[in-house]
Amino acid sequence: MLTPRDRHDLAEIIGAAAGKGETLELAGGGSKTAIGASREATRVSLAALAGVVDYDPAELVLTVRPATPLAEVQQLVAGQGQMLAFEPWDHAPLLGADAHATIGGVVAAGVAGSRRVTAGSARDHLLGFTAISGRGESFVAGAKVVKNVTGYDLPKLMAGSWGRLGAMVELTLKVLPRPRTELTLALDGLSPAAAHAAMARALGSNAEVSAAAHLQSGLTLFRLAGFEPSVVARARHLPAILADHGNLRPLDAEESAPAWHQAMTAAGLSGPVLWRVHLQPAKMPHMLAGWAGEWACDWGGGLVWLATDVQDDAVRQRAAELGGEATLIRAGDDIRARVPTFQPRTPGVMALESRVRRAFDPAGVFETARFQD
C-alpha cells in the first residue's frame, strides 16, 4: 500500500508506475474494495487527501478533497440546510467492509440513492475536478460554478469511472437546499406489475413525488419533499391521483426509514450473491417474474436488487433480454473471478471506452483487471 502525502507525491507515484508498466488501484476509504475480481495491483490510499477546500452555500458549490468521509460532507452541508441531492450512500455495511465511504469514492463509483429518479446521479452534480491522469499529469476540467459548458464535460466521464481514468485530488460538487419537510405515503399489498403502474402514475403526475420504491412485502412507497404547505397540499392530492391503485396511508418515520433504506441499499436482503439491475421501469415486473430469492426495487422500478444463492449469471442474461443490465455487487471470490462486474457493452462501445481510457491512461496504470472489461 502506498500512501502519498499530497497530490505531488501522488503524481510522482503514478508517473513512475506508468514508466515501469506497473498497475495501481486507487482507494478512498476502501468501502467498495469487495466489488470486482481480486487483483494484484499496488493499492494507493488517497487518505491523506482529505478536507473541505471551499464551501459557499449561497453559490450552491462545495469543493472537497476525495478522501473526505461522505458522512462528514453530508453533515457539513446539512448544517447549512443543504444536501447532496443525488443521495449517495455507504456500501460498507452491505459488503461487510471495515471502512467508510468517501466523497471521492461515491462519485467515482457513481453512487446515487432513492432521489436519483428525480434529482439525478453523481454525474449530474460533479461540476469540476482536478485529477492526476495515468501520465502522472495534473489537469483540471469543468469549473466551480453551477452553469458551465466550456470544453468537454469531463466531469461526466470521471463520475462513475471507478478510478480508471485518473486520481481525483479535488472535486467541486453542486449542492442543493435540503427539503424542509418529508413525508412518506404507502400502498399495501401490490404485485410488482401493480406497483409499477402506481409508481408510474405518481411520478408522471404533478404531485411531484421525489422518490418511489417497492418492496417484496408488497409495500409501495412514495416520498413527498419540500416546503410544508406544499407537502401538505400534495399529500391531499396524491390519494386522488392513485385512487385506482389502492388506499394510500402515511407512514411514520419508524416504518418508512427502514423501508427506504432497504430499497436504496439492499439492506436486509439475504443471499450470498447480490445483483443490482438497472432497466426500464416497465420491465421490472418481468425481471421479477419467477424470481425465487429476495428482492427490492427503487427508482420507480428502474432499479431492482436481487439476492440469491445461485452462483451463475442467469440474472445478467435475463436483464439483457429485457434491455437492461445487471451489476454484480456482492459474491464469493470464485464467482467474481468468473463473472465480470458490469454487463458487457457492444463491441463497438467497449472499443470506444478502451480508447477513451487510453486517452487518460496510455500505459494502463489503472488497468487492474478488477472489472474484466
Binding site: G21, E59, R116, V146, G151, E353, R355
Partner: protein
C-alpha cells in the same frame, strides 16, 4: 480558421458525385446560390459558404457519408437548425456541411416511463408539443426553442431560463444513437438510468459536434407543474438585487427562473414591449416559482418578504397567466429590444460566482467607458450566467473589432473572478482563442486526447473549441524511461 486545403477543393466534383451515390436525389447541394443559406449560424458576424451540403435522411446514409469522408480525408461540419450563438455550425470552405434537418420524426413517446425517442432534427419546442396533450413537457428551453433542434441541443448542452431547477440538456437526455467519423454506429445510454461503463453519453453531450453525429435522441419528459407564478421586483441597484438572489437560495428556495436586468436593458425592453416595467430602478428581478398552487403561494410570499428585506422598491406579483407572461415578455424581448436602440449588438455568455456580480458590473462599466461602447445586461441570476449585450455599429469602421475586444475582456474578467467563458452558448469559433484564459495547456491537451479517441484524423468539425489543433500522434507521445509499455496494440492519445 485553418487555410482551405486546395487539393480537397480540386476534388469537389468527385466528392459531390460520391456523396450523391450515397444520398440520391436532391440530398447533395452544390449550386452557389443554394449554399448561401448555410454560410453562417446564429453568430452572423462569421460567414463562410461550405464546399457542399449533404442532407441525409437515414442513419445508414450518415454512416456511409462519414465513412467515405474519413476514407478520403474530407472534413465534415455537422449542422442542426443553425441557431448556434458561438459559430458551432460555421462551415469551412473545404468541408462537407452535414445538415440533419431531414431527421424530423418523433419515433416513440412512453408516458408510463416518461421518455421520448426523437430524431435530432426535431425542434426543441416540437418535443414539448408532441407530449403536452398528456400533461408532459421537455424541460430545457433555450430561447431559440421554436427553431433549434434537439440534435443541436445535445451538441451544445443547451440550457434556458429554467435550468437552475431543471438542469441542462445533459441532465435530461437518457441516450443517443451516435455515428462516429469512421461510420461506426454506437448506442450510448438507452431507456434506463445509469448504464454500465464509462459515461460516454455525458461527454458527447456538449461536445459541439466534434465527437460524432447524433442520429437519435432519447429524452426524459416531465409532468407539467400544476401552476406557475412570477413576481417582478425592482431594486435601486444590482448589488441589492444580487443580495436578494443570494438570500432566496440561502433560504432553500430554488425558483424555476430568476432573471435580472440592469437599467439599460430595462429601458430598452420597456420601450419595445411596454409591459409596465418600473423605469426608476437600477435593477429588475423576475422570480418565477412553479409547482402545486399551495407551494407557489407560499414561495411567492417568501420571495416578496426576502426582497423587502433587501431593499426592493417595487414588487408586483402576477395575478393571472396573462400577467405572468407579460412579466416575461420584456425579458424575452430583451435582445431584439436592444437591437432597436443600437444598429448591432454582440451577446456574451459568461458565468460568474454570483457574489462577484457588483464588482463585475462595475468593471464592465469601466470597460464600456474605455471602449466607448454601451452595454446592457441580462442575467440568469440564479446560476450566475451573465449575458452582456455590447452595443455597436458594424457600419462604423473598426467598431465590430472593438466590440469583440470588449467582449473578450468581459470573458477574461469572468474567468478572473472564478467563473467561465461560456455558461450555455458553447465555445465554437467565437471563444476558441480564449480557452487558454481558463485552461492550462495540460488541461486542453487532455480534452483533445478524448477527441482523438473518437476522431483520430480530426476531420469532424475542426477549427472549433480548441485554439490549437495538435495531431493525435503528437498528443499520444509518452516519455517512457525504461520498462515495457502495456497494451502495445492500442493507439495512444
Amino acid at each position: 480558421m485553418p487555410a482551405p486545403d486546395q487539393s480537397v477543393l480540386a476534388r469537389r466534383d468527385e466528392i459531390a458525385a460520391a456523396l450523391r451515390a450515397i444520398v440520391p436525389g436532391e440530398g447533395v447541394i452544390t449550386a452557389e446560390h443554394e449554399l448561401r443559406p448555410y454560410e453562417s449560424d446564429g453568430l452572423t458576424a462569421y460567414r463562410q459558404p461550405p464546399m457542399l451540403v449533404v442532407l441525409p435522411e437515414t442513419t445508414a446514409q450518415v454512416s456511409r457519408v462519414l465513412a467515405w469522408c474519413q476514407a478520403n480525408g474530407v472534413k465534415v461540419v455537422p449542422r442542426g437548425s443553425g441557431t448556434s450563438l458561438s459559430g458551432g455550425a460555421l462551415p469551412l470552405a473545404d468541408a462537407v456541411l452535414l445538415g440533419m434537418g431531414k431527421f424530423k420524426r418523433v419515433i416513440e413517446v412512453n408516458y408510463e416511463d416518461r421518455f421520448a425517442v426523437v430524431q435530432p432534427g426535431v425542434t426543441n419546442l416540437a418535443v414539448t408539443q408532441a407530449v403536452e396533450a398528456r400533461g408532459f413537457y421537455y424541460a430545457p428551453d433555450p430561447s431559440s426553442q421554436i427553431a433549434c433542434s434537439i440534435g443541436g441541443n445535445v451538441a451544445e448542452n443547451s440550457g434556458g431560463v429554467h435550468c437552475l431547477k431543471y438542469g441542462l440538456t445533459t441532465n435530461n437526455v437518457l441516450g443517443v444513437e451516435l455515428v462516429l467519423m469512421d461510420g461506426e454506429v454506437v448506442r450510448l445510454g438507452g431507456t434506463h438510468l445509469d448504464p454500465a461503463g464509462l459515461d460516454l453519453l455525458g461527454v458527447v453531450v456538449g461536445s459541439e459536434g466534434l465527437l460524432g453525429v447524433v442520429t437519435e435522441v432519447t429524452v426524459r419528459i416531465l409532468p407539467r407543474p400544476e401552476t406557475a407564478r412570477a413576481v417582478l421586483l425592482g431594486f435601486p441597484d444590482p448589488e441589492l438585487a444580487g443580495a436578494c438572489v443570494a438570500q432566496v437560495i440561502a433560504e432553500g428556495i430554488i425558483p424555476a427562473g430568476m432573471e435580472m436586468m440592469d437599467k439599460p436593458a430595462i429601458h430598452a425592453a420597456e420601450a419595445f414591449v411596454k409591459v409596465g416595467y418600473p423605469l426608476d430602478v437600477g435593477a429588475l428581478l423576475i422570480v418565477e416559482v412553479d409547482g402545486p398552487s399551495a407551494e407557489c403561494d407560499h414561495l411567492i410570499e417568501e420571495v416578496a418578504r426576502i426582497a423587502n428585506e433587501n431593499g426592493a422598491v417595487t414588487a408586483r406579483v402576477s395575478r393571472d397567466e396573462p400577467e405572468r407572461l407579460a412579466f416575461w415578455a420584456g425579458r424575452k424581448a430583451a435582445f431584439p429590444a436592444v437591437g432597436r436602440i443600437s444598429p448591432d449588438y454582440y451577446c456574451m455568455d459568461g458565468t460568474i460566482p454570483r457574489r462577484r456580480l457588483p464588482e463585475v458590473l462595475q468593471r464592465m462599466e469601466e470597460l464600456s467607458q474605455s471602449y466607448g461602447l454601451g452595454v446592457a445586461n441580462v442575467f440568469h441570476a440564479g446560476d450566475g450566467n451573465l449575458h452582456p449585450l455590447i452595443l455597436y455599429d458594424a457600419n462604423v469602421p473598426g467598431e465590430l473589432h472593438k466590440a469583440e475586444e470588449f467582449g473578450n475582456d468581459i470573458l477574461r474578467l469572468c474567468v478572473e473572478v472564478g467563473g467561465v467563458l461560456t455558461g450555455e452558448h458553447g465555445v465554437g469559433v467565437e471563444k476558441r482563442d480564449l480557452m487558454p484564459a481558463m485552461f492550462a495547456e495540460a488541461d486542453l491537451r487532455q480534452q483533445q486526447r478524448v477527441k482523438c479517441a473518437f476522431d483520430p484524423d480530426l476531420l469532424l468539425n475542426p477549427g472549433k473549441v480548441f485554439p490549437t489543433l495538435h495531431r493525435c500522434a503528437e498528443l499520444g507521445r509518452m516519455h517512457v524511461h525504461h520498462g515495457e509499455v502495456r497494451f502495445p496494440e492500442l493507439p495512444r492519445f
